[in-house]
Symmetry: C2
Subunit: 239 residues, 2 copies
């Protein structure tokens, strides 16, 4: 029996380990995102350069965690909630990796734009959206750490306001392009940044959906969030 307890403790530790690693990876991605926004705001070439070229760190973490998940599936044959944890983690790290990618994109564009000394007014909306999605990511990682499905739903719902901010930003950028045709190439670069940040919002929502799946045992993708919030309120937690 002691032998069995030992195995089960080791298994528990492995599961705990992938949870911890997801949070580390998430922390790194959040930091990259913050730095890429700060680099744009303050025109810091060195920081933008660092983020533009350091997504390999995030990539390596993704591969490492993915491999650990596969190992656990092969050796431990998890069931119920443990299985959901492993499957949710496989999906979450993919979204985190994409967020890291988009943050690098923002920094690559920042490097191009810094040299052009464009008016700061271009950036106001970009920075707002950037900070918004960064907070969403932070909260989503928190919700993962606390296994909080209600928080995950709340965060996912915020996407509507990101979409609104995105539309407003694009409309404003179009005005700039119309006012000065020579600015089009530059402004289009800003459009790419806004787009990258909006996609980060999408990935955060995916992460929230994975958290809900993990906690509630329900695949909630492609389902209206309002219905879901009501539904989950009335339900008992699964095994």
């Amino acid at each position: 029996m002691q032998w069995l307890t030992h195995i089960s403790q080791e298994y528990e530790r492995e599961l705990e380990d992938i949870r911890t690693k997801v949070l580390s990876m998430g922390g790194l991605v959040e930091q990259h995102l913050k730095m890429s926004i700060d680099a744009l705001a303050a025109g810091k070439t060195d920081i933008a350069d660092e983020i533009a070229t350091s997504d390999y760190k995030v990539n390596n973490l993704e591969l490492e965690i993915d491999e650990e998940c596969t190992e656990i599936l092969a050796r431990r044959q998890p069931a119920a909630r443990d299985l959901r944890l492993v499957l949710a983690v496989i999906k979450i790290i993919r979204d985190l990796e994409r967020i890291g990618d988009e943050a690098s994109k923002v920094s690559r564009v920042t490097l191009r734009l810094i040299e052009l000394v464009s008016p700061k007014s271009y950036y106001v909306n970009v920075l707002n959206i950037g900070n918004h999605v960064r907070h969403m990511l932070h909260d989503a990682l928190d919700a993962f750490a606390r296994m909080d499905a209600a928080a995950a739903i709340r965060i996912a719902r915020e996407d509507i306001s990101v979409d609104r901010e995105y539309d407003a930003a694009i409309r404003q950028l179009i005005t700039y392009m119309m006012e000065d045709a020579r600015s089009i190439t530059t402004v289009l670069d800003v459009v790419w940044m806004v787009r990258a940040l909006e996609r980060i919002g999408d990935h955060v929502i995916n992460i929230c959906e994975s958290i809900i799946y993990l906690v509630k045992g329900k695949d909630v993708r492609h389902q209206p969030l309002d219905d879901l919030a009501k539904e989950l309120q009335q339900e008992a937690p699964p095994s």
Copy 2:
């Protein structure tokens, strides 16, 4: 023993079933992509309308296959290649779903553009890229059906030429915007289409990477394709 043979046959059938369903889902997505490109080329509102609103079919297939994969993991505890198949399928269907999403986006933009009677010249590059990524998707599904890692590498390498076509298309669209500021909103819509098609190319590459992982037992994401081609040539297949 007969009992065991029976279980193992059933298990084989389940694995075969998810493979078949991935191919059906892939076929549907490919059809949606083709229709969305054709609708743009021929200015067909009815087809564009159908594709813009029918991504729920693809979504449902994703959820269904994903659930079957989870079931197999929970009940059959697959190992080695079977485990890789299930994990690869979970990733592939996610990419297929995104491709379906992007195809719907193309059709939504098509619906907006059809009313504006824009010059056909805007579309030439879009259609070329569209057909290119459609062929890549078709070939990737073929490579999955035949478990052909060499083909998957070949297809993934084509992304370089899609990127080139994408850059050329964007440059041309910028010229249009510069020539006529009133066209900016319309041309930007075309930019979104080109962008959506380019992303489809990215998802096809992800699918190819999943196929290589499945066949060769190697996670090849974030690795240069040239190195990989050489490496895989020298290697024996895994268990």
